[in-house]
């Protein structure tokens, strides 16, 4: 495991082409460090500081033909228990209550033995693939033939804060750009009226470390995630102040335009000033289009039923899943939806009563998730939309405390799944040991997941890089990582 290596050491090997500090404006930032010469030449707008602005989120060509155009990452914050959901371990039922030797590492530190807590739900086989799924996910179970399961993921930290950063940004140290930032940096956005990286949080609050989980880190802020609220004003500052009509605001913008034109007059050809003028029109367009994107009024009843929108338990997550689909339809590249927020049992962090916790969170999300997969499929969108399910780690097979069913964190082995976007459904990669305590066959570092996502989006994970502080940074780090071939 790479914990043996320092974690922020990603040294460049190639001379960067352009540099932010070189004063090329942020057009060049958007391009710096993408190393493929041909790709680079095609994208280059003269980094001379005078060429009119190119939006950093303007669409860019991928490295090769992409399988997926969009990503929906359903983030089960807190760490769902793999052995109670998608990683069937029949032996565990038998061992329930027995103390067995097993190495674990969670928030309570490292242990060498523990009392087994048997899975609290029954598993059944589903689909042509015969995939085992627990009773927590009866709806998702009906989609297993479209899903590829990764049973042998491992991460570098079993602590929420750093593990969240690992899953979102590839490093357990903070300050690095997130997956969604990388995708938008690499590909730009096809819809300039909506942000390219959208995050929807749980109603109980954000995850630990807050905005670090959707930051663009050392990249310009244009690549950071935008919080989208499922109800009310969808994007911060999108709506004109109370009492100001759109028409009145249009008058303000027209007057502003006239002042700015007069200012520009004596400073002709200044791209910064022109860019700022243009940004007001882009902002105005966003105001026109974003509210429509989040308005569910036009969704027919059968769609509402499919997601469980009218059911109290599932309504919240259903709304977010429908929004995710609508955003995909409008070309938003990367959408992250959180199940769980805040701390403790507000998310999947089942340290206390495992059954209560997982029944609650799975019950809130199972139908909406299945609804999303089916809806995307019916609309022919699933093959170009990569859906990812999982948390920052899994949970231990043993109890955390002397009594009770609570499980501590487990980063040694856990399950995530992918569907759509060119992923081979009904497949399984890797295994954990018979207790589910750690990955044994085909262990997959989280970076392999990241490499797979970038690869499906048409980006070479080992080539997509960004120059910063003397180094070429990559999402997959200096050692690189290969996509998971078995599921492609």
């Amino acid at each position: 495991m790479s914990s043996d290596k320092p974690r922020n050491c990603f040294c460049r090997r190639t001379r960067r082409q352009f540099l932010w500090e070189a004063g090329g404006g942020f057009t060049s930032v958007a391009l710096a460090g993408i190393l493929d010469g041909a790709f680079f030449r095609r994208q280059t707008v003269a980094a001379d500081g005078v060429t009119p602005l190119a939006n950093p989120l303007a669409p860019k060509d991928p490295h090769y033909t992409p399988k997926a155009k969009n990503v929906i990452f359903l983030f089960m914050y807190g760490g769902p228990s793999h052995i109670d959901t998608f990683d069937y371990k029949p032996e565990l039922y038998r061992l329930d209550g027995q103390t067995v030797p097993v190495k674990t590492f969670g928030r309570a530190g490292k242990k060498n033995e523990g009392r087994v807590v048997g899975p609290k739900w029954n598993f059944k086989q589903y689909g042509e693939s015969g995939t085992w799924v627990s009773d927590l996910f009866p709806h998702v179970a009906t989609c297993v033939d479209d899903i590829a399961f990764l049973h042998s993921l491992y991460a570098e930290s079993p602590i929420h804060g750093s593990a969240m950063l690992m899953m979102n940004s590839g490093r357990i140290l903070s300050g690095n750009p997130c997956l969604g930032s990388w995708v938008n940096y690499g590909l730009g956005s096809v819809n300039q009226n909506l942000p390219g990286f959208v995050v929807m949080l749980d109603k109980t609050g954000g995850p630990i470390s807050g905005a670090q989980n959707w930051t663009s880190g050392y990249m310009p802020a244009s690549y950071q995630g935008t919080l989208l609220r499922a109800q009310g004003e969808p994007i911060l500052d999108l709506e004109p102040p109370d009492g100001l009509s759109q028409a009145a605001q249009r008058r303000m913008l027209d007057t502003l335009g006239r002042y700015n034109a007069s200012h520009l007059n004596s400073r002709t050809g200044n791209s910064d000033l022109e860019a700022r003028v243009a940004s007001y029109e882009l902002a105005y367009n966003m105001q026109q289009h974003a509210p429509e994107a989040v308005d569910l009024a036009s969704e027919p009843q059968h769609v509402r039923d499919l997601y469980g929108l009218d059911n109290e338990r599932t309504s919240d997550f259903a709304r977010k899943c429908i929004l995710a689909r609508r955003l995909v339809e409008r070309g938003v590249r990367f959408i992250q939806v959180y199940s769980g927020g805040n701390h403790n049992d507000h998310n999947w962090d089942a340290h206390g009563d495992l059954e209560k916790n997982h029944n609650f969170h799975a019950g809130n999300t199972d139908q909406p998730i299945a609804g999303l997969l089916k809806d995307l499929k019916q609309r022919g969108l699933l093959n170009e939309t990569l859906v990812i399910w999982g948390g920052e780690f899994g949970r231990q097979p043993t109890a955390e405390y002397a009594k009770g069913t609570g499980r501590d964190h487990n980063a040694y082995g856990f399950t995530m799944w992918l569907a759509g976007g060119g992923i081979k459904g009904g497949t399984h990669v890797g295994t954990t040991d018979e207790l589910g305590s750690r990955a044994v066959e085909e262990p997959l570092h989280v970076k392999r997941l990241h490499a797979t996502i970038l690869h499906q989006m048409g980006l070479d994970p080992n080539r997509l890089s960004y120059f910063y502080n003397g180094l070429d940074h990559k999402l997959v780090g200096v050692e690189g990582a290969e996509p998971i071939g078995q599921i492609l």
Binding site: S3, K5, P6, N8, C9, R12, R13, T14, R15, Q17, W20, E21, G23, F26, V29, L35, D48, P56, G161, S162, I172, S174, G175, L201, G205, G206, I208, S209, G210, Q212, G217, P220, A221, S222, L227, L236, D237, E239, G243, A248, R251, M252, L253, L256, R258, Y259, N260, H263, L264, R267, D272, L273, R276, Y280, L282, A283, M286, G341, H343, G470
Partner: protein, 822 residues
């Protein structure tokens, strides 16, 4: 540039084998055209690292000649027949095995072999002598200002360096900016605040030739100078007031470091002293509260209180200090040498650990928290009370004790009498104070007379008050604390892993700079630290150190002109940009040292130059010939920094509170932003109204929750040292300025201010508003446009006069002319 290349090559000594020395162009060809091909297609097996799979490694010209199992891979007598090329062409070996390269790629490699396979000088392969001659490592010699044709343009030597280059390119400098432009430029430059209309007028009507120089001096004396220039330094030292990570706990008293920096700039503290205090304020002979606070420098970075691997995390913390120190003072990206030798600069891995050894006694003061087995706290607060404060404290404590003694005696006297008058069961009950009071009330006059009872109760109250009285805490600072006089040994860590220590190293300066090993004096028997940091700090500011003064001079220039002479102020190495005016940089560096490292004197020098006073609009010829303004033929217009935007809006609305210093404040932030925190209810501790409108530099810097207005306008990323902020223009900024809470609230306040100051006439309101925002009198057209908007909003959109004015104000905050400075 030509001169520069000569300078470089003249120092390059050929090695024994008389290898032809590669030219800059040849190296560039390799780095840009050939190396990327190798990297992508060959490095996996033939990379330069020692752990490469194949015996043949593409690491140097010598390595190519040595080749692998099949002998040399290049043949300089018949380059086209080199095995390397035959393999790439699939003529015998087929490399890379994954697929033949494109013809153009093969052609690039062929061209390069034809050149003699030039490689950039790398560490430890005979390139050392070349490395030592690298421009940034040369001793700083003060160059003679060059001759120029237009001597009249020269105000001071800076201008000679600028003009000579322009003349050589057949270009003319832009005309000098008018006073109206200059006054706004220098107020923002030195204080980050706009001049008031009165300040503008005062300057414009002052006909004396030294009016400008006097204004510069006055602004340098302003307490707001330190707030602006101190902020530049806070970017470089990754200033923040929380640790980051899961808990993102506050760094207590970090604001004192911020105030120290602001104060150091305001006091014109010599920069060499500034360095000594930050790096070794506790080891100085005259150490005191101020120099202790300065060592907060070490504690500003990200710090994980619950690391997965505590031993490795210890080195992550040290890496934060090594990397920051390398970049902030030396312009060296030495952090890149943590796992292996630096890829391009002559910094072997051992240099990294030798530098780390200076600090390897500073992060042991971490304490495991009791409540969770994996969490730590950094026990790093130091009391910084002065002797007087300590004496004062003792006096207060004694006074309190004496008072308490007195009242205790009083109470005891009464109680003796009380208990004497009570029955036994009553005595027992009366143990409880409440019951006792009740009893005495009931039997008023019986046990104690009414007036005595009052006195007794008052004494009790007094005792309670005294017991609860706490003396205010003594001031504490986030500071360095070492683990005693002996530093632990420092080892090179193989591939940066704490679990793979290699040879031991001693504290030493980067070898390429050619300094003797530091002599660290034996620390006194009762020393609290090992004394290493002081030696490092002394070396940094030694006049022979080639980097510190250059890096500093470049930062000064950067913030006056919008970009450094070296455009990468934290990287003077080969990945960085070359200086556009190397001689000017050296002259400025030499001058900085000669002027006792006093920055105010340098500001004055730079700001009085003709170069600084150029207009932002030049002639078309200049734009065409030098679009990037490499030659400084005109003054680059700049967007206000995040803090300047927020402060200027507050200044316009009249709300700005100019109080200097003190604990950080929490201005209101939108509920939607708070919702993103994992504990929204506890995330932000809103300040009192007067503190909500303090200057932005006093806003609490929380790593997981940056103040949103500031963040929108490209606040420095505080994960590591930030030399140059981004300057983005994106639609979300426009949304924030049009619709955001802060701007709408201040527009309303601004409108009220205008009504108070000039009444209800729209023309007067518009004129006054534009004066306050743009620091100039409005033209007729300006006024007409504004009045038209106000009238239309009322007539066509049915807004009240007050609202129409408010939205005019909001519109005006969005003006390009407001947000940019010429």
């Amino acid at each position: 540039m030509a001169l520069f290349v000569v300078l470089l090559n003249s120092g390059y000594r050929a090695t024994a084998q008389a290898v032809p020395k590669p030219s800059e162009e040849e190296i560039a060809f390799y780095v840009e055209k050939v190396q990327p091909i190798f990297e992508r297609h060959c490095y996996k097996c033939h990379g330069p690292e020692e752990e490469a799979q194949s015996e043949f490694r593409i690491s140097s010209r010598d390595a190519l000649l040595a080749g692998g199992e099949l002998g040399p891979v290049v043949d300089f007598d018949d380059p086209d027949d080199s095995q390397l090329l035959r393999a790439l062409r699939y003529e015998d070996l087929e490399m890379p095995p994954a697929g033949r390269l494109g013809d153009r790629e093969i052609e690039a490699v062929a061209q390069w072999v034809e050149m003699g396979a030039p490689f950039p000088a790398a560490v430890g392969e005979g390139g050392g002598s070349g490395a030592q001659s690298y421009w940034a490592y040369q001793k700083i010699e003060r160059p003679e200002p060059p001759r120029v044709d237009d001597a009249a343009w020269i105000t001071n030597p800076i201008d000679a360096f600028i003009l000579a280059r322009l003349e050589a390119a057949d270009l003319k400098p832009a005309s000098q900016a008018d006073k109206q432009t200059l006054v706004r430029r220098i107020y923002y430059d030195l204080t980050g605040l706009p001049p008031t209309p009165e300040q503008v007028r005062e300057f414009l009507v002052d006909p004396s030739p030294d009016a400008y120089a006097r204004l510069v001096d006055r602004l340098l004396d302003s307490p707001h100078y330190g707030e602006r220039w101190g902020r530049h330094w806070l970017d470089v030292v990754r200033f923040a007031e929380t640790n980051g990570y899961e808990r993102d706990n506050a760094k207590p008293s970090a604001w004192r470091y911020r105030d120290y920096v602001i104060g150091a700039f305001n006091d014109d503290k010599p920069f060499d002293r500034f360095v000594l205090e930050q790096l070794a304020g506790d080891e100085l002979e005259d150490a005191g509260a101020e120099t202790i606070v300065a060592t907060g420098y070490y504690r500003l970075g990200l710090w994980d209180d619950e690391p997965v691997d505590a031993d490795q995390a210890y080195y992550d913390s040290l890496d934060d200090v090594v990397s920051t120190t390398g970049q902030a003072f030396l312009g060296m990206t030495i952090g890149c040498a943590r796992c292996h030798d630096h890829k391009i600069d002559p910094l072997p891995q051992s240099d990294y650990y030798s530098l780390l050894a200076f600090f390897n006694n500073t992060y042991k003061d971490i304490k495991q928290l009791e409540f969770e087995k994996t969490a730590f706290t950094l026990n790093t607060l130091v009391t910084i009370a002065s002797f007087e404060q300590l004496v004062q404290r003792q006096i207060q404590e004694r006074k309190l004790a004496a008072e308490l003694e007195q009242v205790n005696a009083q109470v005891a006297e009464y109680e003796e009498r009380i208990y004497a008058a009570l029955t036994n069961p009553e005595k027992e009950d009366a143990q409880d104070e409440e019951v006792r009071r009740h009893l005495l009330e009931q039997r008023r006059g019986d046990v104690l007379a009414a007036d005595e009872l009052q006195l007794y109760l008052a004494a009790l109250e007094h005792r309670h008050t005294l017991e609860k009285k706490k003396l205010p805490p003594l001031p504490q600072a986030l500071a360095i604390k070492e683990n005693g006089r002996e530093a632990p040994p420092t080892h090179v860590l193989t591939r940066g892993s704490v679990h793979a220590p290699a040879e031991e190293v001693q504290p030493a300066f980067p070898a390429v700079l050619g300094f003797e090993l530091p002599e660290i004096p034996e620390p006194a028997a009762d020393a609290k630290s090992c004394g290493r940091r002081l030696e490092l700090a002394r070396w940094l500011v030694h006049p022979d150190n080639p980097l510190t003064a250059r890096v500093l001079a470049n930062r000064l220039w950067q913030h006056h002109f919008g970009r450094g002479i070296v455009r990468t102020p934290n990287d003077f190495g080969k990945f960085g940009e070359r200086p556009t005016h190397p001689q000017l940089l050296d002259w400025l560096a030499a001058e900085t040292i000669a002027r006792g490292w006093r920055l105010k004197s340098m500001h004055r020098l730079i700001m009085l130059s003709s170069a600084y006073r150029m207009a932002s609009v030049g002639d078309q010829e200049g734009y065409d010939a030098d679009p990037r303004n490499d030659l400084f033929g005109r003054f680059d217009l700049r967007r206000l920094a995040a803090e300047e935007i927020r402060d200027s809006v507050l200044a316009a609305s009249g709300a700005l509170n100019l109080k200097v210093g003190g604990p950080s404040v929490f201005p209101p932030i939108p509920a939607e932003i708070l919702a993103g925190a994992s504990r929204p209810e506890a995330a932000w501790n809103l300040s009192a109204p007067e503190d909500q409108v303090r200057r932005s530099v006093y806003t609490f810097v929380k790593r997981s929750l940056p103040e949103p207005v500031l963040q929108t306008f490209d606040l420095a990323d505080n994960g590591s040292s930030c030399a140059v902020r981004f300057n983005t223009t994106v639609p979300t900024q426009s949304l924030t300025m049009l619709n955001g809470e802060f701007f709408v609230r201040e527009a309303e306040r601004f409108a009220r201010r205008l009504e108070e100051e000039v009444g209800h006439d729209p023309a007067a309101q518009v004129e006054r508003a534009l004066w306050l925002l743009l620091c100039r009198s409005a033209t007729e057209g300006d006024i007409d446009r504004g009045v038209e908007l106000i009238e239309n909003l009322q007539r066509e959109e049915a807004l009240s006069a007050a609202d129409a004015l408010k939205y005019f104000c909001l519109m005006a905050f969005n003006l390009n002319e407001f947000v940019y400075v010429d």
